[in-house]
Symmetry: D2
Subunit: 426 residues, 4 copies
Amino acid sequence: MEPSERAASLLVKLRAFMSDHVYPAEPILEAHAASDRRWEVHPKVEELKALAKAAGLWNLWLPRDSGRLLKIAPGRPGTDESEADAWMRGPGLTNLEYAHLAGCMGASVWASEFFNCSAPDTGNMEVLLRYGTKAQQERWLRPLLLGTIRSCFAMTEPAVASSDATNVTSSIVRRGDSYVVNGRKWWTSGACDPRCELAIFMGKTTPDGTPGVPKHRQQTMVLVPMRTKGVTVVRPLPVFGYDDAPHGHAETTFEDVVVSVKDAELLGEGRGFEIAQGRLGPGRLHHCMRLIGMGERALTLAARRAEARVAFGQPLSRNASVLQTLGRARVTLDGARLATLDAARRLDAEGNKAAKGAIAACKVAAPAAAIAVIDAAIQIHGALGVCDDTPLARMFAGARTLRLADGPDEVHLETIAKLEVRRSRM
Amino acid sequence: MEPSERAASLLVKLRAFMSDHVYPAEPILEAHAASDRRWEVHPKVEELKALAKAAGLWNLWLPRDSGRLLKIAPGRPGTDESEADAWMRGPGLTNLEYAHLAGCMGASVWASEFFNCSAPDTGNMEVLLRYGTKAQQERWLRPLLLGTIRSCFAMTEPAVASSDATNVTSSIVRRGDSYVVNGRKWWTSGACDPRCELAIFMGKTTPDGTPGVPKHRQQTMVLVPMRTKGVTVVRPLPVFGYDDAPHGHAETTFEDVVVSVKDAELLGEGRGFEIAQGRLGPGRLHHCMRLIGMGERALTLAARRAEARVAFGQPLSRNASVLQTLGRARVTLDGARLATLDAARRLDAEGNKAAKGAIAACKVAAPAAAIAVIDAAIQIHGALGVCDDTPLARMFAGARTLRLADGPDEVHLETIAKLEVRRSRM
Amino acid sequence: MEPSERAASLLVKLRAFMSDHVYPAEPILEAHAASDRRWEVHPKVEELKALAKAAGLWNLWLPRDSGRLLKIAPGRPGTDESEADAWMRGPGLTNLEYAHLAGCMGASVWASEFFNCSAPDTGNMEVLLRYGTKAQQERWLRPLLLGTIRSCFAMTEPAVASSDATNVTSSIVRRGDSYVVNGRKWWTSGACDPRCELAIFMGKTTPDGTPGVPKHRQQTMVLVPMRTKGVTVVRPLPVFGYDDAPHGHAETTFEDVVVSVKDAELLGEGRGFEIAQGRLGPGRLHHCMRLIGMGERALTLAARRAEARVAFGQPLSRNASVLQTLGRARVTLDGARLATLDAARRLDAEGNKAAKGAIAACKVAAPAAAIAVIDAAIQIHGALGVCDDTPLARMFAGARTLRLADGPDEVHLETIAKLEVRRSRM
Amino acid sequence: MEPSERAASLLVKLRAFMSDHVYPAEPILEAHAASDRRWEVHPKVEELKALAKAAGLWNLWLPRDSGRLLKIAPGRPGTDESEADAWMRGPGLTNLEYAHLAGCMGASVWASEFFNCSAPDTGNMEVLLRYGTKAQQERWLRPLLLGTIRSCFAMTEPAVASSDATNVTSSIVRRGDSYVVNGRKWWTSGACDPRCELAIFMGKTTPDGTPGVPKHRQQTMVLVPMRTKGVTVVRPLPVFGYDDAPHGHAETTFEDVVVSVKDAELLGEGRGFEIAQGRLGPGRLHHCMRLIGMGERALTLAARRAEARVAFGQPLSRNASVLQTLGRARVTLDGARLATLDAARRLDAEGNKAAKGAIAACKVAAPAAAIAVIDAAIQIHGALGVCDDTPLARMFAGARTLRLADGPDEVHLETIAKLEVRRSRM
């Protein structure tokens, strides 16, 4: 599960980029996030995106088969278009290769965006790649792949448990060549970003109880331009006090929003649940990879602090209890790291279905490990650890949400357990 | 350890006050805390303070012996002064009696202030009560007891480990009848409040290495009016994204601040460490009591959510795993609750020194229990639990800091362990 | 929750007895338990029972109301009978008073028997006290109270989950004035003891599906003399390798065992479940009290070992990590100790039903705390801790079974959770 | 980290062997272990050893380079000697290949011996392979490799902390061409076995404080035939009540035991510590691999039990809380499994020193995971789980000792932490 040669070489570049550009930018972005202008995008972000493109560290997340799936006409050779074309295709890595890189990016909560590797855009791009028409790809996927716009994913609703995606209550009603979209969504991450142009929206095209339509064929996904009449970003929801501006986790309403069926419909009526399922496999893995990176960063900070900080006459790193904490953190983190790499390997080798248990396992292990390690690092930092002079508190908040986002622990554990019971019969 | 008759009767009143006034005010205060005017005090706060005074729920924290310690001249009977006099004396409860009441207050993070029972004012008032001259009490203790001003406690410094209070590096230099105060402090909680008028400041009057002066006799505490030249509130420090406005946890600097020795000095030169030690016993206990209250609130919210929320076709409260979580939360919380009450009982019956181990034990148990219960409640709430539509996330942040504030877990556990080793010799 | 004066004075005596007699006897009994003669009762046991009687430390568990319930004719004053009479009545303590004493006894796994306070005899005696006829009390309760015979409780069956007592499949069939008893039981603790004369047996007098008989009225309890034809002790079941000889946890069979209805029947046909429920409240509490005592013993041994053992150039007690472990152990143990005392207090003050949640809570907390503390003590002892040169390994095995015996954790947690949900509605 | 083709093919054979021969033999061996003849070797053991040899499943643990190290003359082709020769060489697997096989063997506590893969013989054979003279190999290594004798390792002493191997106090005094060996050892595993012929003994040839001799050059290892005058097996030490007969963990004394220097000395005077260090790397890994196997077995048993056992009207496998437990067990076990495989991979690829941190990490993770999973399985089994009708309780005892044996958790965590601090400087 060591990185391939190609991944190793990208990893060297990426680490240098992190040291040279990302870590130095952190205090700037942190200060911006605490300022009154935090809902605007800081120029540093676009600057670093340009640098990452130039360094060949762009769209690293794009799956191996994306070339085949891309319906966008290639640019003419020797023009800017052709450069853009290369950016749009990325290096085409395996999940295992990308795992190592995403782990590295995860060390900074700001980093993924610089490499066009951040949620929910990656998931949305993957949906457009797999299920978008040529026209949909040209209109939305192109600018997303080039990083000129951003997007959000409007699925979760306040009124129902979203661990079961069939639960959505929003409605998508066909009226002639149009759909009329209504619903209240929340945790629409990214909707607050001024660059956000597109929502992928899930709702029911078939009401409950319609005869002959099974529960998981009632839902449809549609593309809704954010600037359509009736789309309202109600408020950003904070996460443990962090509003994650300018990205933001929004409560959004869709009131009588009208879109053309041809432009909006993805894959076909009644296939929304199917898309949602497919979208989540690699997405969960990406989250896990980044969580490992968070844990690594926290552990490094903790070890450095232990060496630098003197209490009761000696550095903390000579205190046996602090050493136990550091050692335990490494053991915990490595277990989760290996579980994540192994899930990526299985996803590559055996596909989504066979890797289901392994992905569920790392989706439980990685947030738990990250939380444990970050929490230990906070404790070693003392009061410094809970404020924003280190990235620890913000990481903690992010890691904690991932015991809930993309399925709570409990749902994944149940998935694993049922596989285990089946295996035990053999 | 059940509440005495007096405590029970106050508890009935307090619970009614919480239901009638505090819980309904929470959304208002939460919204204010998210607004641009959050550094101003919301009028609701003063309104509720007046109601609490009228209800006889004022200064409940004041210790039994406070009447004896108060040097402020009593008001003339039959005047407003006499009413104020009663407010300034409070009911004079034992620690065990107060424990039950503070537990109840802890259920809302905003509540303690309404009853003039919030940190760091209570600790500061206790210092003034025990060590203040008549003049110091008239000038500072009177308005604090009446709730017309607030105060802060400037001890912790960014440069040194504050788990050992002898470490402070700030200097207090005698110049004639004055002290010149210099230092950089942080986590000066409450310093941002527009009503904050007073800092109790700890620094060294004797430099390190002065012959004949032991390490714990180098420190002195002085009263510094916040509006003195040279006092600067540099910035508020957020706690997991919460800035706790308008209270705020400030970084503060004191640059050549001049105060008169007579007005400023508390107890005497070189006795700052002694004051700090005494200040912490009941203060730690108050924190623990409130943490139990937080835990109780979280558990109630979790149980209600479990009944109300339907997932996979049944309320969560019929899911065996959710029940295990709720049951475990109660067991954890009750252990910490009883440990806190027992520490209060021992503090009353046997005094600070004999209760040292018990106080240290609940200082470890209560934050851990509160964190565990709140975290479980968040998980049961799903994404709702991490935003500010419930008090859970804010409570979590507060509870987490209390594994660090007033001594990190590790220091308390070491205290307990040394007592245990000593006991095992017998 | 401090011991009453009466309990405190008994506690002084009991502690002296433990130091003077019990701890010195431990190596003798441990060696006997490892010898070929371990299924015989070591003479030391009867010797210590006699000493305990003489010291007034006999039948301490007997509840306050036992005098009223005892139907045995009092002995003539001035004779041996009258002395026996006093022994049979015990001091009549409250549950809270006894809690302190049982905690002290728990420090040695051998101790309870010396004071006639060991399971399952105490539970059986309580059943006979509450539900036995005068004749049954004369025949069985008298020698049990005097410690001349022992008894066992045959309820658990290998074939069905015993967390639900209505599940028993053994049959008790009426034939004229007799009952014919058939069934396979296990975990019949004490059945291997050569002094064991009596089994209290639970079976169904009404088969499943009999119209008009509710599920919990099918069971009956009968007294079966061990030496009756058809009663077979099949084998002792080891607990983590310990067979607990000569007591033993037996698999037993009852094949066409005939007993007279009049002699055997307790309380009446169909009331076995009712008896079982009542039997468990105080019994669970006794187990918890003893578990706390085990934990205290383990913690003392750990602290002593930490002081005595040198590793890497210093005693373990100067290693910060060992101190964290000791401190954490005390915090854990105290939470469980207070929870147990509080449950005893509530049982005394409010009765079985109101104390249900509190008893369930300590039934979860006490084994968990004991296991955690004993396990930590084992780790501090190194390899010494897993063998029988200290009482730790045997205690561990005993404590671990109590996460299962008298209801597994899961059942108790569910009980607590349901009470919590109900409370949250208010 | 998937098994190589060679390992995969051996794994198929091994699994079949486990199902066909090992699991069916378990009740026989368990019954024997509970009988009076348990200190004799049951004939089934030798029978299964013969079958394993015949199946090519012999000496699987032997490292890749063992052919090169073996100084024993090869047998003449076409004779029995030549068959023995093949047995003595084993398949020569990498650590990673063997990891998969040892994991499979670990599922039964009895299994390793059948394949000549059990401790402490493997470690002793490795020492003889690396450091033994031709004569020593002929005399001791040949019969050990052929499984006709067994051996023990006499290092740990009751008087000193054995986490630091330089601590041994036993003495080895040169007298002419002989060494005179004196010392009290314990946890000399295997010394009770009637087939045990050899002890590898570690003692000091240079007393403390000898000028010019560093602390880790005072120790020497010598070969001591068990039947030498002065060697006494004092007693077997039980582990949580299990004496592991006929293997046994012995307390042994060596009183004026005389051995010839030429026959006995390994590697040279003063090089005992060096041998001890080298011996432990792969040995620790073997233990970890087997622990994973134990965990797998426990999880399978738990899942089966959950399906088979009905409580409160449904199989446990439909209870959400039981599913959480099973899911959590898999997550925990997989983290430790991958950590162990990764350590094996690194040991192969980078050698002992570079793999130090990884080996320490799995030495902490594997026992913890095994204990957690076995404990969960016991809880799911109820009372059945603590007795010997399943292998769970015995496995638990074995797994628990491995948080102590070959270095306690605390020592390994400190090793890891120090590496982490060093890494954080980069």
